[in-house]
Subunit: 138 residues, 4 copies
């Protein structure tokens, strides 16, 4: 199991008139969280795209337990629970500074060859890095 | 069962460098779709908030089948399948101009009293309007 | 002089916790306003990009006179005051339903060839359409 | 003169299908830049709002010199060139990792009492902090 924590400060632009983070804006936080997870595993998503592989989102599920507020310094904990094949699953938990769990979410993404949009296996170098974390934890 | 269709044209701002609508931007389309559904049922969400009732999102699930593209004139079909109590469930389908189904989603929202953030039943006038559609279809 | 009015309803996503439209979100309204202006002149921006010409923004100026609010049905009035060469200038005025002027803005964009990013003249067919409006008004 | 530099990494959500940061998204970067400038001067914008003072934007001007790209680690340099009265002026410069100047912008904001929306002078404690930087530089 691989886990990675990042911090994101809530921007004013991300709030709505309810005074909370707009429900649609968490998707961006999770994008940042998984891109930084990949980076921690030696994979730059930018470089991945340049190499001809894209990673679109197939499915996204999110539960809103408590609201995040303006200027909150959120901690996003990302977990990869299984070695990906063509598909890769991320789980996310969002905490505020009081360690309250605000949001639980998951996404399914698929490695796709840009030129034909067909699914492909995750890059071997990335899998190698990822396997280390699984060995460590098992 | 109540259904309502609206059209939304994809803005350039909503695309990403993959050339598609960013996965996080559908949440805004669904917001527009459900607000227009409520309006068609005689309930202005703006007025609802002014009356002291808010309708935050508790849960959001979305499956991305095919990408939406810049300038696509999308049709969002919203369905309310059951009479709400404190919670209200919306289902959404997004189609492009070729009638291709692009996205399937659902949200759970809860009627909440603004002053104490406690769940409350949906306004009676709204339920009355909504019941008509259920009688028609049953 | 060419003018075109469009209507945009303010989305909840576009408000911030001040209860107004976030100052950064007007740029998207102006994008929609100028794209619809181009469409009214027979030019689809989507088709323009497909033909190998892009129209990036060089400069953007905006004055916020009064706030726009959630669910406001805004009227955006777009004006093209001069026949474009490589550069095209748009002026915008945003009104609410009470005809109050909320925002004044202007943008400068440049026609650019996608393959070498070099400025180029506006498509002749578009200029032809645009000239009609100038003859009409002079 | 007060200057403050912050770093912002470009999110995928912030790009558009041109492959660059969407022109409307810089406004959010400048929001972050000025809020962090205020924080460096001992003023939390969140606390300012709680104390009954808001700081809406009156005017925003932006020149786009070169595009910012996905995953770029941008440096935003914010400058306050004069001691504010009711109005406060911020200038911004955006650089990429190659020290290329991408964007130049400025905003005018106004200190406003939330209860009557009337302009008011900047908080004395904030002005005191700010004056130090001016003495240092003159």
């Amino acid at each position: 199991m691989f886990t990675k924590e990042i911090e994101i400060r809530v921007r004013y632009a991300e709030t709505d008139q309810m005074g909370f983070v707009y429900y649609g804006n968490y998707a961006t936080y999770f994008e940042v969280a998984r891109v930084e997870s990949l980076r921690a595993l030696g994979m730059s998503y930018k470089e991945l795209e340049k190499s001809g592989i894209m990673l679109p989102v197939l499915e996204y599920n999110c539960k809103y337990l408590k609201p995040a507020k303006y200027d909150d310094l959120l901690t996003i904990k990302t977990t990869i629970k299984s070695i990906p094949t063509a598909r890769i699953f991320f789980d996310y938990e969002v905490f505020n500074e009081n360690k309250e769990l605000l949001t639980i979410a998951s996404t399914t993404l698929v490695f796709v060859q840009a030129f034909n949009k067909r699914p492909c296996v995750a890059p071997e170098q990335f899998l190698e890095q990822l396997r280390k974390y699984f060995h460590q934890n098992q």
